[in-house]
Subunit: 147 residues, 2 copies
């Protein structure tokens, strides 16, 4: 029915990018994490053409990162809210933001605060198994057919 089986690439990065590999989709997810839910909120925030916005929201919904929800019965109006899969995409966005802050950080920047402590977040990626920061130890990429 959907195209999950079509993407036979064994690389999980490629599988993800097969439908999330464009700027608008990622910025939509960012805005959804910030709290936007409605068509016109996304459109005004991004300055995206409504044609493109319709298609991107449809893809993100089909792929299970967003979910349509009725927020008004009369008139019938729907909004788009993050699913668990969509919320679990936050680490990706935060790491992109961390790279951007480090390498394209000139001038005023949006920052992310921990609400409880009030301090700014400093996102880093670690390996949960060893606890080592990613990039500090040599890695091997193992193809699935090497048995």
């Amino acid at each position: 029915m959907n195209d999950k089986n079509i993407c036979a690439d064994p690389c999980p990065i490629a599988r993800c990018l097969a439908f999330l590999g464009d700027t608008w989709s990622l910025l939509l997810l960012r805005d959804a994490h910030i709290g936007l839910t409605r068509f016109d909120q996304f459109r005004k925030s991004l300055g995206i053409a409504p044609t493109i916005l319709t298609r991107r929201l449809a893809t993100l919904t089909e792929e299970g990162l967003l979910e349509k929800r009725l927020y008004s019965e009369r008139p019938p109006r729907e909004e788009y809210v993050l699913t668990a899969a969509g919320r679990d995409f936050l680490p990706v966005l935060m790491m992109i933001g961390a790279w951007g802050s480090q390498y394209r950080g000139d001038g005023p920047l949006v920052r992310v605060q921990d609400v409880e402590t009030g301090e700014y977040i400093k996102p880093i990626a670690i390996d949960e198994v060893t606890g080592a920061r990613i990039g500090t130890r040599p890695l091997r990429f193992v193809m699935p057919d090497s048995d």
Copy 2:
């Protein structure tokens, strides 16, 4: 001279995606991390048209994620190697891969091994300040002009 100043968006995610927001660029960085360096290696690995490959490699080089290096004087041949900025992009790729493994993990998958321990990597994002996993505590996105 270059377009760094043109991207006046205060969001570090948007700044990064301004030139890295397409599938080919991200897959090129993935392949560069795996160890590919040459035009034809990238072309064969990705099945990308040479026109597009030329442009993407040029952009990644201009933006400082790759660096051209002469690997043969006669005939003159150049390869593309990761810079520090390019290597620091690995966490982003690993988090994308982690999401893909979790939500698009059907069938055989490429896995990443820690060479020293031999165990498979499980990448997670944490806040270096609190040590808390990202997504487990409420966050606030702070605009730069809110003083």
